[in-house]
């Protein structure tokens, strides 16, 4: 029966491929009236095939030759989106996933599941609503999905696997989080003073109850965004002020659970346009707010309560003729600031890896590296965490939890250059931050971070019709702390990315690139088991590591977002502190992705 359904759905998918492209998969745009009249049900989706072989080598295999050193796997899947507009004010969409693992036959390894389900519409031409799956983002301190570490300007060669991870984990553009619940929003326009006001509210269940000790967890909240009219037309003075609330809570009324949390984050964000003229723009931007964390037991007895504040305020200067934007901001995020919706990371460094999770004679858990971050979807999550997740200080020590990283004070700055001729585009961002409260000592850590990227479009320089682009990314990070010998910290890391995209023939590209990481020094990584409470410091984190991820391959683009790529990648991991466990990983894969 399953096979028949699979065949039926696949056939439907093929029929739809032949149909003209009508609709975005995420349902971001309502179909036009003409389209709605012509057709009320649309099909679109994504098809993907990946077959890959991964091989483990190096000293770790030389010392343990009996271990398995090669894994071949893959999958074939079709995400079929069925989109219906029963009337001009309502729309529903379901995405059915049909998946077959490489090597799966006659039911084994096959699955059919609902990947996405939502409905949306407009009530009385005023209030928009959406129920079911939805992507939400508010501000970097309330509800936000901060970018993962380990990349600055990811070379194109590694991007297909990254896109695959993003798709699987529902990482939508704009740092949105995938939630399941309901959302309403509306906008009001005014003729005097205020120009407009946008109001939004949402509620989502982020964890189900087990009816024993784990209660249902919800996140809800909303925002009011007020935009003023221009105060002074010659200067372009105007202001945008937002009031935001993200509230996470456990429902203790259902089941036997008797302990739960309340985490409220209230903020005000603003963007004041001081000057907006043809040659120059100057903005005062920022966000300020407070978090409250309350752990309750039965009868609302508070057993743990903590609150703290944050602020980020700065200015951005845009020099329009030079296509240059400069920004600087002062940051002060309290050590007890806790925001589940904003501090949950994408990468769970303690999650089991899909490939060679345990290696060596002692079956030790392999330390995740650039290779895993670039391709292993099982290391990623879209779930919200009620504790500060583990991080790798070699990849991100300054802001492991994004801009909402607690216990940071100092300056962030940025420079962005995007000339109109698009020959070169570049940006530099950085931070000079300190801890506000010490960890394990009253001495404070200092963090220095520089991130730079550049895209050099040679095809624009030599006026070649095919794409020829060099991409560069670089990150330098230093963490230091003075004090007694055991308190001292000095950790340096360098991340370098080089990528090449050369379109040899129309739509046929040669891709090559590499990512290199070096790290040396010492730091202490806190062990956090609940919320943001430092329980202990395991052994000092000592690093003298070198990682290199190299790749080369070919890609043929059938059209935008539909391509096939064949690649070879090689990764090496070397620790001077543990040379017997140095290893290499190499992989060959073919990936075919089709959006329709």
């Amino acid at each position: 029966m399953k096979n028949i359904l699979l065949l039926l759905a696949f056939s439907l998918g093929l029929i739809c491929i032949q149909a003209p492209l009508l609709h975005a998969q995420d349902g971001s745009a309502l179909p036009s009236d003409k389209e709605a009249e012509a057709k009320k049900v649309h099909f679109n989706g994504l098809g993907r095939t990946i077959i890959q072989q991964t091989e483990l080598g190096g000293a770790i295999m030389d010392n343990n030759p009996e271990k398995v050193d090669r894994v071949t796997d893959g999958e074939f899947l079709l995400d079929l989106a069925i989109n219906a507009t029963p009337n001009e004010k309502s729309e529903v969409q379901a995405i059915l996933r049909l998946r077959n693992e490489f090597g799966g036959f006659f039911g084994a390894g096959q699955s059919i599941e609902v990947r996405e389900l939502w409905a949306r519409g407009i009530i009385a031409d005023i209030v928009r609503y959406r129920v079911g799956d939805m992507d939400m983002v508010m501000t970097p301190f309330t509800l936000f999905n901060p970018d993962e570490e380990g990349m600055v300007n990811n070379p194109s060669i590694f991007q297909p696997q990254k896109d695959l991870i993003y798709y699987e984990q529902f990482y939508a553009e704009g740092n949105q989080r995938r939630l399941q619940g309901a959302k309403v929003d509306m906008g009001l326009n005014f003729s005097k003073g205020l120009k407009s006001a946008d109001v939004m509210a949402f509620i989502s269940r982020i964890r189900g109850a087990d009816f024993f000790t784990t209660p249902t967890r919800f996140v809800g909240g909303g925002s009011v965004d007020l935009l003023s009219n221009t105060f002074n037309d010659s200067l372009g003075l105007k202001a945008d002020l937002g009031l935001n609330l993200a509230y996470t809570w456990d429902d203790l009324t259902v089941g036997e659970a008797n302990s739960g949390i309340r985490n409220a984050v209230t903020t005000i964000d603003f963007d004041v346009t001081i000057l907006e003229q043809s040659k120059m723009g100057l903005h005062l931007r920022g966000e300020v707010g407070r978090s409250n964390l309350n752990v309750l037991e039965e009868d609302s007895i508070s057993v743990y309560k903590i609150d703290d504040t944050f602020l980020e305020v700065g200015a951005a200067l845009e020099l329009k003729p030079q296509h240059l934007t400069l920004s600087v901001s002062y940051v002060d995020v309290g050590p007890d600031f806790f925001s589940i919706g904003a501090q949950s990371k994408r990468i769970g460094f303690d999650r089991p890896k899909s490939y060679f999770n345990r290696v060596g004679a002692d079956n030790m858990v392999r330390m995740p590296g650039l290779f895993d971050i670039s391709r292993d979807r099982s290391m990623y999550t879209f779930q919200l965490s009620d504790r500060l997740m583990n991080y790798d200080p070699r990849l991100s020590n300054t802001s492991p939890y994004g801009r909402a990283t607690p216990n940071r004070q100092g300056l962030r700055f940025g420079l962005d250059w995007k000339p109109a001729d698009e020959r070169i585009e570049a940006s530099v961002t950085g931070a000079v931050l300190n801890e506000i409260r010490g960890q394990g000592t009253n001495e404070l850590k200092s963090f220095n971070l520089i991130r730079a990227m550049a895209n050099v479009n040679f095809d624009k320089m030599i006026d070649w019709k095919n794409k020829l682009r060099l991409t560069l990314g670089y990150q330098y990070e230093n963490t230091s702390r003075s004090g007694l010998e055991v308190e001292k910290v000095d950790l340096n890391s360098n991340l370098l990315e080089i990528g090449l995209e050369a379109e040899l023939f129309a739509n046929f590209e040669l891709l090559a690139g590499g990512t290199f990481l070096t790290s040396n020094g010492r730091d202490y990584i806190p062990l956090i088991e609940t919320f943001n409470v430092v329980k202990d410091f395991p052994d000092p984190f000592v690093s003298d590591d070198t990682e290199a991820l190299l790749g080369a391959g070919l890609r043929y683009n059938f059209k935008k977002d539909t391509y096939v790529t064949f690649q070879y990648q090689n990764y090496s991991f070397a620790r001077k502190t543990d040379p017997n466990n140095d290893y290499t990983l190499s992989q060959v894969f073919v990936l075919y992705t089709m959006n329709f």
Binding site: F231, D332, R437, G440, D536
Partner: protein
């Protein structure tokens, strides 16, 4: 211009927010002190033992003390000089005190302690296994909870019947004190070879409930889910022996164990004897499928020695096991 004046409210508002958002609690650093955690080790106060002699049967306890300059892993190991029993207490702290280093007479590794001298060792693994030692004498052993069925310390007389029907048991089968018992001095040893009638069965021993002085076994509770059977079993690691323990229900209401007329219950899977040394076995009586009414009329316990002929070589090897301190507890397994 009117709007311009209002506009300046925004920077003022921002300034207000900035001033109110920069106050944090910085009095105490996060987590344990790094000096305390990773600094050079110093012994501030050596091992202390709160008493030289202890009577656990009277409810006395021994409190160990020591102080270090930092928190670290420690192991307290108390070894009975006669029984060989070992009690281990592990912790992570900068001090041993009444909260983390108290001994109330229990054991971690069988056998149980006797009235004997004990050596106390405080070991710091992270400091090259630095070891501090002391002594304490037990003058009264711990009284364990639950109802004792038998500990074989006194002869069972007519309450014990040993069935050597196929003449496969050795002469050593019976009460023995030829090695340290799990508790006290005596235990019951089963030993034999299934080489006369190769049918898995080697021998049996029936112990009547009257060994407790009652007609039926006195249990602390008759709720099968709450009633736990406990015994210490000795095995020598030989892989061919199986211990079977049957609980006999007085089906015909005579108050006596009558083979073939009363009903027996036993644990599915029984007790494989593939380990070495004394080991505690415990399980709720509900695992046997026994009812509360049946538990109120348990007339005895039958011990059997089985030789797993499927795995035995030819000729078959000797199999054996020891058993000691058969007790019943309520609410959970016997806690050592």
């Amino acid at each position: 211009m009117k709007y311009n004046n209002r506009f300046y409210l925004f920077p003022l508002l921002c300034l207000f927010l900035v001033l109110t958002a920069c106050e944090h609690d910085t009095d105490q650093f996060d987590g344990p002190g790094l000096v305390d955690r990773f600094g050079e080790f110093q012994l501030l106060e050596g091992l202390t033992i709160s008493r030289a002699t202890v009577d656990f049967s009277a409810g006395e306890t021994v409190i160990f003390g020591a102080r270090f300059n930092k928190r670290l892993n420690f192991t307290l190991r108390i070894t009975g000089m006669e029984s060989g029993s070992v009690k281990t207490i592990q912790g992570f702290d900068n001090e041993l005190n009444a909260n983390n280093a108290v001994w109330s007479g229990g054991t971690t590794m069988l056998p149980l302690f006797k009235r004997e001298m004990c050596q106390v060792e405080l070991i710091i693994p992270d400091e090259n296994n630095l070891t501090l030692t002391g002594m304490v004498e037990i003058v009264g052993t711990k009284s364990y909870e639950g109802s004792l069925f038998t500990d074989f310390e006194t002869p069972l007389g007519a309450n014990l019947f040993t069935g050597n029907f196929e003449f496969e048991l050795t002469n050593r089968t019976g009460r023995q004190n030829d090695m340290p018992a799990a508790q006290g001095d005596w235990y019951f040893l089963f030993e034999g070879t299934d080489n006369v009638v190769p049918n898995f069965f080697v021998g049996l021993a029936d112990i009547s409930a009257r060994v407790t002085g009652e007609t039926y076994i006195p249990f602390p509770t008759t709720v099968p889910e709450d009633l736990y059977f406990n015994a210490f079993i000795y095995a020598d690691g030989g892989p061919h022996g199986i211990a079977v323990i049957q609980f006999v229900y007085d089906l015909n209401n005579t108050g006596l164990f009558e083979d073939g007329q009363d009903q027996t219950f036993q644990l599915a899977g029984d007790y494989p004897l593939d380990f070495t040394g004394w080991r505690q076995i415990s399980h709720p009586m509900s695992d046997l499928g026994i009812t509360q009414a049946q538990l109120s009329k348990m007339v005895g316990i039958r011990l059997l020695l089985i030789s797993n002929m499927n795995s035995q070589p030819s000729p078959p090897l000797k199999v054996d096991y020891g058993i000691d301190f058969i007790t019943f507890t309520a609410g959970g397994p016997l806690e050592l």
